[in-house]
């Protein structure tokens, strides 16, 4: 199996799906000639030409709206919003239009729209380029929200997203762009949306971790294993709809659960998991579900703040130990 970076996994997914289905196209700021602000669409303009790979003006509302309208007219658009922090400029098209079109019109239109948004949490770029906003879109019915944590997951999920007849918010973390992994060389390699992945099996504690936090949870599990604490790490991969069956089964086994996320605890991912698991597995739990998240502040400029604010492996280890105490 060839080894690919997270960034090339994304490019490959788009290239394969564009080759497979000529209704698929890509638009966004700097996606064509420059090959993507972060290089995540290199080669696509050459491969598919300017009709299907286009640079847009800095007009986030219409970037998404173009996708909505083109999808209603039978295309399968991929639109890129450079940073998820720009959500506030296009949320109407996402939440009121893309998410509701199939529903309002009683199923007369499909909405096969993929909205790729980069996350730059913990890259020190400052308050407008550091936000984990998956919880906002996950609160909107009619959207699927996907957040891959490895190159293989990125490829398989993006291909599924492009083939999905519903709007999918696809959150790419640019800090992971250079991570490498072996990926099946199969043009029909797909990872299902809505299915969590047990990234490590364990018996004592369930750690639910998403995005950047998955690798840290796995590192923490390694360290805790040395002390005989067996950690099961679950990566939901899809933030909405969340695969609570897999998580509940794990927690019923381990009786303890920690949720680790880059999104704020308040009204965030951790609360959603804690509430639902607290309900589904209440009588199996030995301890309350704990949440580990950055404190409820904006993200100032600079790595030293990012590192201080965001959960790291040490913090996960400590939180798991606390749960075991």
């Amino acid at each position: 199996m060839p080894t690919k970076t997270y960034c090339w996994a994304i490019i490959d997914a788009m290239r394969e799906e564009m080759a497979r289905d000529d209704r698929v196209f890509l638009i966004g700021e700097d996606v064509a000639v420059a090959g993507g602000a972060f290089g995540a669409s290199r080669g696509l303009l050459d491969a598919f030409g300017p009709m299907r790979v286009r640079d847009t003006p800095i007009s986030e509302e219409i970037i998404v709206g173009l996708g909505v309208g083109a999808a209603m007219a039978g295309r399968r658009p991929i639109v890129e919003i450079m940073f998820i922090d720009f959500l506030g400029l296009c949320l109407d098209q996402i939440a009121n239009q893309a998410a509701k079109t199939h529903y309002i019109y009683d199923g007369m239109f499909k909405m096969p729209l993929v909205i790729r948004m980069s996350s730059a949490v913990e890259m020190g770029i400052g308050p407008h380029h550091s936000q984990a906003w998956e919880a906002i879109v996950a609160h909107i019915p009619g959207l699927k929200v996907v957040m891959p944590s490895t190159p293989r997951d990125a490829k398989g999920l993006l291909k599924s997203a492009i083939r999905d007849d519903n709007p999918v918010i696809f959150i790419e973390h640019i800090a992971m762009h250079r991570i490498k992994e072996e990926i099946e060389d199969d043009e029909d390699f797909l990872i299902p949306i809505g299915k969590a992945d047990v990234k490590r099996q364990g018996t004592d504690v369930t750690v639910v971790a998403s995005g950047l936090m998955v690798a840290r949870a796995l590192a923490a599990a390694e360290r805790l294993a040395v002390d005989g604490i067996s950690v099961e790490v679950i990566d939901p991969r899809t933030i909405s709809p969340l695969d609570f069956d897999t998580i509940t089964a794990s927690v019923s086994k381990t009786s303890r659960c920690l949720v680790v996320s880059s999104s704020h605890k308040n009204f965030g991912f951790g609360s959603e998991v804690a509430a639902e698991i607290g309900e589904r597995a209440f009588f199996d739990l030995d301890q309350p579900v704990r949440r580990l998240s950055p404190p409820f502040t904006p993200a100032p400029f600079g790595r030293q703040f990012d590192q201080f604010l965001n959960p790291d492996t040490d913090a996960i280890v400590a939180a798991v130990r606390d749960l075991m105490a």
Partner: protein
């Protein structure tokens, strides 16, 4: 698609009659929710849509019945949709601000002012990619032209030479606020030039003038020469919605605009210029009234959708 004058008149009548009957239902307290009446603007929808094919797209707004009917939406399911009935074209879940028919290129209404413009541009982009000469038309009010989506749409459509026709129905008011009080320059069309978009200001109560201008815009779009902004100067006879006491304007102003009634004006034209016999029009008028009455009865007699259907179709 050429249409004979009688067909145009019929289309305007249909809208006129629908609006009248819906207002009547409202007065009788049997209409659920708000009615955003299209009375007075009939020439806009008909003038524009009469030059379109079924493969052309139309994106509507909150004041959409005129657009739906002019683009050919079937009367009964449309009427039932307005009343939120199970027999409605969206099963009653769209309601007064939302109806669509993909087979006719009708891509829905909207509850969000301005949101249709980017969507219309998206349909135009799809049409451009298809390369079959289809065009996309987006209808919006002059109030919507103050929303950010307007500038973004003008610009993208111009940059990409999209086959998009932006139809601004300038009826002078946005809800209770006169347009002139919210702008520094009262012609919406004047904004097009700066973005490199062609534009025309048209008497929106003259169906033939609208039709001609729309025809030029459609030709330009089909030829690959890009977008046009049409500003149709018109007036909504009713309030923003039925029941609005219209304190922000005078009854006198309303009377003046009613004197410029687009339907009556075209009727006079048919009689005087085209030489249609009045009998023929009277027959037609009765037929349309009957057809609409039948649709209203159909809608009233139709059941509400089962509440549990609300749980369906969140996803495809």
């Amino acid at each position: 698609m050429t249409q004979d004058p009688i067909t145009l008149y019929r289309s305007m009548l249909l809208i006129r009659e629908c609006e009248a009957q819906l207002n009547d239902l409202f007065a009788k307290n049997v209409f659920p929710g708000y009615i955003h009446s299209y009375l007075g603007q009939e020439a806009c929808a008909v003038g524009v849509c009469s030059g379109l094919n079924d493969t052309d797209y139309v994106v509507s707004n909150h004041r959409g019945r005129g657009h739906y009917l002019a683009k050919g939406m079937a009367l009964k399911p449309m009427m039932a949709e307005m009343l939120g009935k199970a027999t409605g074209i969206c099963g009653g879940r769209g309601g007064e601000m939302h109806a669509a028919d993909p087979a006719l290129g009708i891509l829905g209404g909207n509850g969000i002012v301005g949101a249709g413009m980017p969507i219309g541009a998206g349909a135009a982009l799809a049409a451009q990619m298809d390369g079959l000469g289809a065009v996309s038309v987006v209808f919006f009010g002059e109030g919507a032209s103050n929303n950010g989506a307007f500038g973004e749409t003008l610009n993208v459509a111009a940059a990409w030479k999209l086959p998009l026709i932006m139809v601004c129905e300038n009826n002078l008011y946005a809800e209770m606020t006169p347009f002139v009080q919210t702008v520094g320059q009262p012609d919406v069309a004047a904004r097009a030039t700066g973005y490199g978009v062609a534009s025309e200001i048209v008497d929106g109560n003259d169906v033939l003038a609208v039709r001609a201008a729309a025809g030029r815009a459609v030709d330009r779009a089909r030829a690959g020469d890009g977008p046009t902004l049409l500003e149709l100067k018109t007036y909504r006879w009713g309030g923003h919605f039925e029941g609005d006491p219209r304190k922000y304007r005078t009854r006198n102003e309303e009377a003046e605009w009613k004197a410029r009634c687009p339907v009556a004006r075209f009727r006079r034209h048919l009689l005087a210029e085209v030489g249609v016999e009045e009998d023929r029009l009277v027959t037609l008028e009765a037929a349309v009234a009957a057809e609409v009455a039948e649709a209203v009865t159909f809608a009233l007699d139709s059941p509400l959708p089962a509440p549990e259907t609300a749980l369906l179709k969140v996803f495809a």
